[in-house]
Assembly symmetry: C3
Homo-oligomer: 401 residues x 3
Amino acid sequence: MAASSSLFSSSMHVKVFAPKVPTFSEDFIVCHRKISCMEPGYSTSKCCPNSRFLSIKMSSKEDQMKKTCQRNGIPCRALKIEQTTSFSPGLKFHLDDVIEAQQFDRDTLNAIFEVARDMENIEKNSHGSQLLKGYLMATLFYEPSTRTRLSFESAMKRLGGEVLTTENAREFSSAAKGETLEDTIRTVEGYSDIIVMRHFESGAARRAATTAGIPVINAGDGPGQHPTQALLDVYTIEREIGKLDGIKIGLVGDLANGRTVRSLAYLLAKYKNVKFYFVAPEVVKMKDDIKDYLTSKEVKWEESADLMEVASECDVVYQTRIQKERFGERVNLYEAAKGKYIVNQDVLKVMQSHAVVMHPLPRLDEITVDVDADPRAAYFRQAKNGLYIRMALLKLLLVGW
Amino acid sequence: MAASSSLFSSSMHVKVFAPKVPTFSEDFIVCHRKISCMEPGYSTSKCCPNSRFLSIKMSSKEDQMKKTCQRNGIPCRALKIEQTTSFSPGLKFHLDDVIEAQQFDRDTLNAIFEVARDMENIEKNSHGSQLLKGYLMATLFYEPSTRTRLSFESAMKRLGGEVLTTENAREFSSAAKGETLEDTIRTVEGYSDIIVMRHFESGAARRAATTAGIPVINAGDGPGQHPTQALLDVYTIEREIGKLDGIKIGLVGDLANGRTVRSLAYLLAKYKNVKFYFVAPEVVKMKDDIKDYLTSKEVKWEESADLMEVASECDVVYQTRIQKERFGERVNLYEAAKGKYIVNQDVLKVMQSHAVVMHPLPRLDEITVDVDADPRAAYFRQAKNGLYIRMALLKLLLVGW
Amino acid sequence: MAASSSLFSSSMHVKVFAPKVPTFSEDFIVCHRKISCMEPGYSTSKCCPNSRFLSIKMSSKEDQMKKTCQRNGIPCRALKIEQTTSFSPGLKFHLDDVIEAQQFDRDTLNAIFEVARDMENIEKNSHGSQLLKGYLMATLFYEPSTRTRLSFESAMKRLGGEVLTTENAREFSSAAKGETLEDTIRTVEGYSDIIVMRHFESGAARRAATTAGIPVINAGDGPGQHPTQALLDVYTIEREIGKLDGIKIGLVGDLANGRTVRSLAYLLAKYKNVKFYFVAPEVVKMKDDIKDYLTSKEVKWEESADLMEVASECDVVYQTRIQKERFGERVNLYEAAKGKYIVNQDVLKVMQSHAVVMHPLPRLDEITVDVDADPRAAYFRQAKNGLYIRMALLKLLLVGW
């Protein structure tokens, strides 16, 4: 099931399971049969994380008549319960797909971050984890994004999983012949266990997730969402500052176009006593929808033109790149915006010793290179955290908690 | 050795082996030495499926003087006999390369389908087969075909093998500098155990197979052949209908240009009492060579303009895409052809309950989306069968029966 | 640490280690902390080959305060000494990066070739080595080179390692948005254990190695260096002729532009009594810098216009392709140069029986196809040796001697 389309509601499926009761739910056994059997309007979660090995796949009409979903005679929900780890005693929730930052509530974020910490230990200490051995991830990228793709593929391989890569699906695939995204997904889901998709159209990830019988992770869909970036940003703040409640964060640079800072605003609004400072050139100011949202959630924010003052106040200075491609012909506007707020040694000097500089990368001139050597320059650690967050999500979607 | 170039003869090598007789054939030991030692006109089969580990590779002139092909002192044909499984007692045949649909006779098809069924079980039930562990497949694609490439790569990885990928060999490789296909193959065969090649020129796969000392699979060579598509089509018919003898199949759409339907005609002609119906717009009618071939084989066929009547008669309605790229400037001819025969709910209504709709994909409008939910819509299962057929062929070519 | 920039000095780090003395060196523990802690001008070797699993990675400011570099309580230099094999008793040297042919001295070359021979045995006899299991190589190719890329990826996979691929980093990556190479390297090093980089700019490999905390292999940087090609050439001569001291080699074709023959000249100058013959069309003659270098090293060389005479004298005829792309508009000059020196049956007739023909490939018409069948045609074996050399280097850089 795709995540909820509601912007503000959590679409995590929180379910209370009585442990070790091997009931054989009618709700459950229809999973993985959406393509041929689903009624319009009917939806069911991708309820069996370990589904490739637990459920019987329907490959002929005869098989579809059978209604059992078991392996070695053991109904698979029972099996799933037995496999669960102790995240929150008596309470389990299920992650189907990762579509948008807003789908996660605070508890879910905490749980994901806990798994990400485990992943840090695995990556540093084990000589090749085999946690996802036998699983196959398809990276279906309709627009190139080497950084994000490598991060996901590294995550999968660090856990012993395998990868099918498509670096430029838009040009190379059947899409060029006019195939719908839905048909492509139905084919690719037959070849893999999870799909990581980057697309140029907003909403594409949700369409893919609605179609697929296997989990889908949105690796960015046009101007829409890039939820794993948002997760790694919040994770980085917690790792670097040690807390999320009560932090003060300065968002600097292109606040109008950057989906990163917008997603970050939505996510941090879930925490207590967070204060935002917006430091942006006039042409790329933070838009009213975010300001209104924060106000409605009673989150404090203010706009400022004084980077030095904000830097001295904040726990996090989150710098972003002014995106030239958004300015078109207006080159002089771009040049003016680009040079206005630079994080350099002067900014470092006023920052507190526990504070950090973050950036989603790639970086041009908006952070000077001499900042890199300062321990408070967190942006490369932030990029590395993307690996841990993606390892955690792959683990959660494929084998569950 | 490449498959036979004769259109109608089977080029499968059927050999009767006395079991466990470790004779050391002169014919055998020259295998893998074609490059430097082959006389013009001389050919030998790639006789040792497990060759990477059984034969001594010749990497210097000195080594070439040695004429033993053994490992741990055991001549390798003997080893091969010991490894064979019970396909047909007392009778073994050997698969060197997969070049064209016509190379397979009925017994071989049955044997491949039997292995494909095993592969279905492996893919569904085992957590990562290691059958091809240590083997390396090179996907050498001179034109992009994401669907076919992912299917082969998934097949290899589902069996524990590894993959070297070239998504666009035409543009990226030494071919751009004028290197011959033969030289490229001689280099790539040094880096891998099997080559899966897609090429834009008809006959390229045969040239590659003739050159290579390792198995070659044709993943489509221009307007020529796409034998694994033909195999998966026949396999799907058998899986869905339960038989091949006596089936009635309606080929619909572009019958002039589609290599798929042409290959299918050749393969199904090997079965008894098959009846073909050709339903095509005038501009893309089935060509005379196929009709003549079927007549010569005493296979019944008829042309029809009435899709509804054909659909009510057939076990299989095989729809195809009208390929716009074949019409060039003649856009109105394309539009007319495209809209003429659509598989929709009306067609489903007249089809028998055991019958199926097939399509090689990608699909545009020639099957309406509301058909997908009907259990008789077999096209996504057909795509999935491509995985099993390719798993079977990789297994057969690399480790034998 | 990057290799020395001095053209003639060896930049191998030769260190004498007292075996099994687990001293805990201050020098050592700062490794992998270059990004955030390095003083300008300060440099330290990537001293721990097995670093991903031995050193604690610094992912937050707190961690950076810790100064221990150990695993399971064992300081890692001690661990490294225990793991070393007996290359040269009492004497170890350390390989950080592979940047240019000149970085290797004669002892190092011999040691690498010894490992390459081991790799030949592994590739031929073992069913999938697991020597590099758990290691991840990133192939960062800023210009396409399918042959080189596949060779490296095959090498990694033959040793059980895994690969992250970027076939066209220039177009696809953040480089297109203006990110510096240094920033890209800092991101990619977080996702992998070793970087193999092809770049269009001379010197790029050194810049990458200076930045990276993990090993970097130069897979060609523009008109600069292609050290693994040079290594495989020298390895091939030794394998085919049985010696390097005292060999006579004829370099034929484009001697002005080919980085291959230039690197070869530098490397072979390290051996005794080597004699070079330069056979080149006037427009692409060997340049004076190489001639002067050879003279300064007391290496004999002569220029000749008579290929037949040179071929009859030499142990190795090293043919190269005249590179059309270097001639621009001067097509007739290209055509004249191209046809001037061809290796064909006539040349074979005058060559000695122990001599070989080599070529870096791709080959156009400068060696006729009928030469391929002669046992002295070594060029495809030479390409295969590239696999063994790259396996050896990956082994040496990742797990040490």
